[in-house]
Amino acid sequence: MEIEVTESGAFAAMTDGRQPMSRRAAVRVGAGVGVGGAALSLLPFLSGHAVASATTEPASAVEATTTTAPPLRPTADDITLLSFAQQVETTAVALYNEALKVTGWSDQQAQVVTFIRDAHLAYAQSLSGFLGRVAPNSISQKLFDSQKDGFSGAIDLVLASAEALESAAVATHGDVIAELVGTDAASLIASIQMNEARYCTVLADLAGETDPAVLLVDEEAASLVGKG
């Protein structure tokens, strides 16, 4: 049996040239190779997990999701549309302010009209917040002038004019939604349009209308897009 003689560290350092591999070194290397081999042999297992997690979604589902998600933020064209929509809302606020100057409102009528005026103000403000510094924050003088007489006459006339304006706003926002690309703005306009549709029914009822065709606005007014 060969007797192994190990050199001390000091002596080993003094010797020149390559050292024959000692048994300890051989064991160390062997152990390193063993651990490395074990790790290598585990690679297929680990990579198998990685592959499995990457392919959890069935291939057919990946192929099926071909719809491109629309952007959330408004595009440059969207900003033009939203600026117009904001002008419609600010004009509505100005027109309802004219209407509230008319005398003869009952308490109930005045409260409902005030509610609707405040709602339009909220719409204009929310669109202003959405648009930022490019928000026009001004009325459409042309629209205001065309509607002003209807909002400053007798109560019945004002209610009828307000109902017509709300219907036109509903049609306008429908056209705006049909052109908007960004979904954040489309959601905001949709929530505005939904309530303005209700205003038509409420104003008609407030005016004493009983015909369901009128109350449910079977014929929507023309859109204001291109008329501002």
Partner: protein, 309 residues
Amino acid sequence: MTNEIALDNDGRHIDRRGLLRIGGLTAAALAIAACSNNTEAGTLGRVGQGGTTPALEDPIVNDGVLLRTMAGLSTSIANAYQHILDGKFLAKASETMPDLGDQTELVTVFRTHHIASAKSFNALAVKAGAEPWTCGNTRLDSASINPVFKRVEVGAPATDSSKVIGPSDDPTRDYVNLVHSLESMFASSCQALVPLLSESALRSSTMQIGIRSARHSALIALRILPSGYVAGVGESLMPADNATTTTAADGGPPAATAIPLPVALPARFGLLSPTSFIGGAGDENGVRLRVNFETPSLNTFAYPFSSCP
């Protein structure tokens, strides 16, 4: 006497050489074991016969699925109105709402609109490449509408923990409130679809249908409560007792759950929140049935693999 070093037989002493030998052998054994290629655990043994695990279909949500889901919702609502009209519930006087009047004609108009809405949504779904959905939404029917019908018309049988609940004390009130809940839910559903649809034209068409239901909702609310235009903002027009309540007699059973009356303008912006329906007779504690009508979600969609029952 020899020169050999006496071995320590008590087993407590391991010299450095022995330690290295053990370490080397262990590492070599590990290396040999690790080099084997058997990395698969294999399958568990099976006892008896059993079917294979079914593979779930892909729950694809695209424009077609959303649109035909809306067609189903509209059909469910039209079917519900037909059920109410067939039972002539709206022609009967309401004890709770004596001024309500007969709303049969109005709900008939609503039903006609919903049949047309279902056709419109199916036409849009077909354009989007989906199959039309020609029956009601199975989830809405089974989880919301049918339980309301059962509770109002039949009640609920006794169980181990509760007594029998009789039919509704005022089916006309419950059904006119159900009409309001369904219209509000449908309007909200159309609004909720806007950010989900991929094409602008589809969003606009969906809203065009949705605003009609918003008007239905406002009008039926005004029929239920003629002065109920607005609520909760500023000085409300609503009277203080804006709910139908039943006062308990002294020593009598608990008062039934109050039923809030709807208003035409519940908020300044279109709502996406659930619409609560409360109706039917109260149980032994006075608790009526409450159902939340919500906008469609993953458990309501009419997926490509779904079909009418």
